[in-house]
Amino acid sequence: MITLNRKLKKEHTVPSNGLASEPVKRISIRDKLLIKEVQEMNENLPMTCSVHFEDPNVLNEFILTVTPDEGYWVGGKFKFSVFVTEEYNMAPPRVKCLTRLWHPNINVDGDVCLSLLRQTSIDEHGWAPTRRLKDVVWGLNSLFTDLLNFEDPLNIEAAELYNKNKTEFQAKVQEYMTKGKR
């Protein structure tokens, strides 16, 4: 048994240098996973979310729209682009916020700070291949409610304003939302 284990270990550790052929295979793995996950995501979409695929044949790219029904961002409509890379599900999808907004965890460039989208994480909150698209949608949706985090902000200014004056913070959130609508 021990020798078999060693043998297997040896054989399986070798391919890391044969990376050249790997990306080709991975495309199909991602797409195979996505066929199931997109369906699952659609079936479990929160009331405040909708997804749109530019090209219905390309499952690895879509727009998620969140329209919060509670919290500071009520009345707003926030679009996120979700891009699932070839490394999925070893790597998390890449997410950008397309709507300019005032939020402690999303900066004005659209970078999103959400733990489950973090590739390397030492705790259980980071990305893991056990996570699925529906978890990503749930996470982004929760950024406006449960996962809203002023303690570890990406937009430091927004968090500071919140700590200083909540009314002003709310006003600034509103200001960005009106600007965004035009």
């Binding site: 297997l8 399986h12 793995i29 070893m90 259980e124 291949p129 056990t130």
Partner: protein, 111 residues
């Protein structure tokens, strides 16, 4: 079988009276159920049964470069199981079980 049934049988045997047994047991069929001794029978990484080949290996239906078809299962000390192929890709970036976050160490491997 309920207690009452046993009572009926006992009376019949002990008293030797003319049988008032409702029934006698003539045959007993035992059915045993089994499952793999793992907490999860589906690989949480590729979502294919651990006893089947993983999603990657299924895609390459041909034998791999080592001339082997086997896609083995690996059990961690945490008792979670995955395809070896799937897990070895993941531990390269994070040496923890993706299900319980424990430090990943292999308990056993095989089919």
């Amino acid at each position: 079988m309920s207690g009452e049934d046993f009572d009926a049988l006992d009376r019949g045997d002990n008293d030797g009276q003319k049988s008032d047994k409702m029934f006698t047991l003539k045959k007993w069929n035992a059915v045993a159920m089994w499952s793999w001794d793992v907490e999860c029978d589906t690989c949480a990484i590729c979502r294919v049964q651990v006893m089947d080949a993983c999603l990657r290996c299924q895609g390459e239906s041909k034998k791999d470069s080592y001339g082997k078809q086997d896609c083995v299962v690996v059990w961690g000390e945490c008792n979670h199981s995955f395809h070896f192929c799937c897990m070895s890709l993941w531990v390269k970036q994070n040496n923890r079980c993706p299900l319980c976050q424990q430090e990943w160490s292999i308990q056993r491997m095989g089919k």
